[in-house]
């Protein structure tokens, strides 16, 4: 035990240097198995490596894998941390030097958020990779599904009177394009949020065409109408973004069963007010732009039973909206969330029925539970 602890501390102090000069991967590190293979039951969680992946791993990413003897993955995670920090410095430095100037702030903020995302995901991947036994790991199956969901959600937001919502939505494939309407209807208020997304898929599984894994690249065109009758305004948002997922077995076989997601885009919101001015005319609408950015880390459940995902979403216009903090940094960041889709094993229903859970922390706390039904396309 003490030897492994010493190894961890040693790597904690020199790992960054090691990442720069280390030779290629060992055979143990990087043998890629078949495209849809799930892991061996013999892989076990490593409690010491997990603990050290948290600390000092929070500072030196990859520590968990170094301690577990998977040094090439450790070096790659450390390199990812360095790239993330570099992007944060580049983007943050640009923001500082330009004073968040109007023509620079969009790209600079995007680089900063992306860097923070790479930093966060390399940490999470390190912890997950050594904490997760093979018996828990799964794969996506590389199939395209149409998923429908209906459920309830609770939004705890001190700014608004609503609390409970009926949530519903489905996806339908039209060739390689997903059409996905969704809606939140207030159960104790007249608040409602209606969305329609059209998502052409450029890479990944589509109906009738399996993919090697769950990786994909989508374009997302969306229109959302969010009505606040009690406050007399309606937000209508048009948005476009590119969203991709990469199964981390492409990064390292030690991380098979997990994935990262990233997406970036732009939106424009029209806020229309049902309010008349002193002249009797409706007051003019406000138009504001949105920087869209999503970053996520997740993993598949074994047996193609679904997946979980922890994510950051830079949105400031949905129920969770941006993060409120004590101190002087409140308002800039978006919100964090965790969602889980789990499908039950059932011969009669062919594993189609499941439960979805969603939790978000931003200006409000959001908790949702849904019944899921999926159909392979």
């Amino acid at each position: 035990m003490s030897g492994r602890l010493g190894t961890a501390l040693w790597f904690g102090s020199v790992a960054l240097l090691g990442a720069l000069w280390s030779p290629g991967a060992s055979a143990q590190d990087s043998q890629v198995t078949g495209p849809l293979a799930e892991s061996s039951e013999s892989e076990e969680a490593d409690p010491l490596a997990t603990a050290l992946a948290v600390f000092p791993g929070a500072l030196v990413h990859g520590t968990g894998h170094f301690v577990a003897g998977r040094s090439q993955t450790g070096r790659r995670l450390l390199l990812a941390e360095g790239i993330g920090l570099g992007m944060v410095l580049l983007g943050g430095g640009t923001l500082a030097l330009t004073g968040a100037a109007r023509d620079w702030v969009g790209p600079a903020a995007a680089v900063t958020i992306a860097g923070a995302g790479v930093f966060g995901m390399s940490f999470m991947a390190d912890v997950w990779g050594v904490a997760m036994p093979g018996s828990w790991r799964g794969s996506s199956g590389g199939k395209a599904y149409s998923t429908s969901r209906i459920g309830v959600a609770h939004v705890a937001d001190p700014q608004f009177d609503y609390g409970w919502f009926l949530t519903t939505g489905f996806e339908r494939w039209v060739g390689p394009v997903r059409v996905a309407p969704s809606a939140w209807f207030g159960l104790d208020s007249s608040n409602e949020r209606l969305s329609l997304s059209v998502k052409p898929r450029f890479l990944g599984a589509t109906p009738g065409r399996h993919a090697p894994d769950g990786s994909y690249l989508d374009l997302d065109l969306g229109l959302t109408r969010h009505d606040y009758p009690s406050e007399g305004f309606v937000n209508t948002t048009f948005e476009t973004s590119v969203l991709g997922r990469l199964d981390l077995r492409h990064f390292s076989q030690d991380l098979h069963g997990s994935f990262v997601e990233a997406g970036s885009g732009w939106g424009l919101t029209r806020t229309g007010y049902d309010i008349r001015g002193l002249d009797g005319e409706h007051i003019e609408a406000d138009y504001t732009e949105l920087l869209l950015f999503q970053l996520g880390f997740g993993a598949y459940f074994r047996g193609e039973r679904g997946e979980w995902r922890a994510y950051y979403d830079h949105r400031h216009d949905d129920y969770a909206a941006g993060l409120l903090l004590h101190g002087l940094g409140s308002g800039v960041a978006g919100h964090f969330g965790l969602d889980v889709d789990y499908f039950f094993k059932s011969r009669m229903l062919e594993d189609r029925l499941g439960l979805g859970f969603d939790a978000q922390v931003g200006s409000a706390y959001v908790l949702g539970l849904s019944l899921l039904y999926r159909e392979e396309m």
Partner: protein
């Protein structure tokens, strides 16, 4: 890691989230607002109407004289002094941040008032002989009693440029303004030393300074501000126009403040009404989001201001100058106090001078460049 590990991990993450985040980060300040202007010591109780002054001291000086010190947050002060039988009847009252022409008078009860000069233009000193146990006073400049046109200045976001702030104060002293309004970020982190320093610098400003706080005042303690500058959210009237200053330093407005704002909007629906706060509900450059954390809350606030027929909204936070509309209301962002500037905007340090006519509205908003 088994299910227990997952549950423990999620619980730990939940605790971290709870510690770092809040859906009401401004609640403590909203509650603290209500304590401002009320204090009791040495047998004397002070109650300032609407909390529009900080009671910054009740005690004895080195010569054994009883002293009362107030820092004013508005042009007009109405306050009540109640003394116990054992308390002194003779008090030396120092009123800071007041208009030079202000006059103190007794409204109820009996007291003898003797005025002497303060140490700087916005300070007045009075020797009070309290003849009755309870005396109600009013402090007001003659011009504040009369409805009519006037001008005021707006300055925000000084922060680390405090060493150069006298340039700006000197320029403001040349303008015919009744007072200076502040939209926050006076300091870099809101420490005792920084708040105290700003007050000292204000001694060379010839008009009083009424201000709300900014996010940079929240670096040390959420409520230290109240000990120096009073309420973070407050309202006053001047020459027929209404002013509401709102604490948006946490990129949100606390529900308690919405309740108070609704009252101010209801009272002044037909008056010229100016609302100032630090972080604007919406950033004209939306991808930057130097604005409220929730666009939905921003729309809620702007809808309420529009419904209350507010005439002008003034903001700081963004270190540049923007002239736009929100909720159909003219809006200005002026963060020209010297904090790290937005580059390439060709603005530099500046302040605004705003001309108001209570009968016709906002007549003019001028940008005065300092550099």
């Amino acid at each position: 890691m088994g299910w227990r590990g997952v549950v423990v991990t999620l619980g730990f993450c939940g605790l971290l989230v709870q510690a770092a985040c809040s859906t009401r980060p401004a609640e403590e300040r909203a509650e603290r607002d209500l304590e401002v202007g009320h204090a009791a010591a040495r047998g004397l109780r002070v109650d300032v109407d609407d909390g529009l002054a900080v009671v910054s001291g009740i005690g004895q000086d080195e010569d054994g004289n009883w002293q009362l010190k107030l820092w004013s947050s508005a042009p007009t002060q109405r306050f009540t002094l109640r003394r116990t039988d054992a308390a002194s009847t003779s008090w030396r009252m120092t009123l800071s941040n007041v208009m030079r022409e202000s006059e103190l008078r007794v409204v109820e009860g009996e007291a003898e008032i003797t005025r002497s000069d303060g140490s700087h233009p916005t300070q007045q000193v009075y020797q009070l002989e309290l003849r009755t146990p309870e005396v109600r006073f009013e402090l007001m400049a003659p011009e504040a009693r009369q409805r009519g046109p006037f001008s005021f200045a707006l300055l925000s976001d000084v922060q680390e440029a405090i060493d150069r702030v006298q340039d700006i104060f000197g320029r403001i002293n040349q303008e015919p303004v009744a007072f200076m309004l502040g939209a926050g970020d006076l300091t870099q982190r809101g420490t005792d030393e920084q708040l105290s320093r700003y007050k000292r610098e204000l001694e060379r400003l010839e008009v009083p300074y009424y201000t709300t706080l900014g996010n940079h005042e929240l670096g040390q303690s959420p409520t230290l501000w109240h000990d120096y500058f009073g309420r973070a959210s407050f309202h006053f009237d001047f020459r027929g126009a209404a002013f509401s200053l709102v604490d948006s330093g946490s990129a949100t407005v606390d529900p308690l403040i919405y309740d108070r704002l609704d009252g101010w909007l209801g009272e002044h629906g037909s008056d010229v009404h100016i609302v100032a706060m630090h972080i604007p509900p919406l950033d004209p450059i939306g991808v930057r989001n130097g604005a409220f954390s929730s666009r939905n809350e921003a729309a809620k606030l702007l809808g309420r201001l529009a419904r209350g027929h507010v005439d002008l909204t003034l903001y700081g936070h963004i270190h540049s100058y923007y002239d736009f509309e929100n909720g159909g209301i003219p809006a200005y962002i002026s963060g020209g106090g010297g904090a790290i500037p937005e580059r390439f905007d060709d603005i530099g340090r500046h302040f605004l001078v705003i001309d108001v006519d209570p009968d016709s509205g906002i007549r003019d908003v001028r940008t005065v460049r300092v550099d």
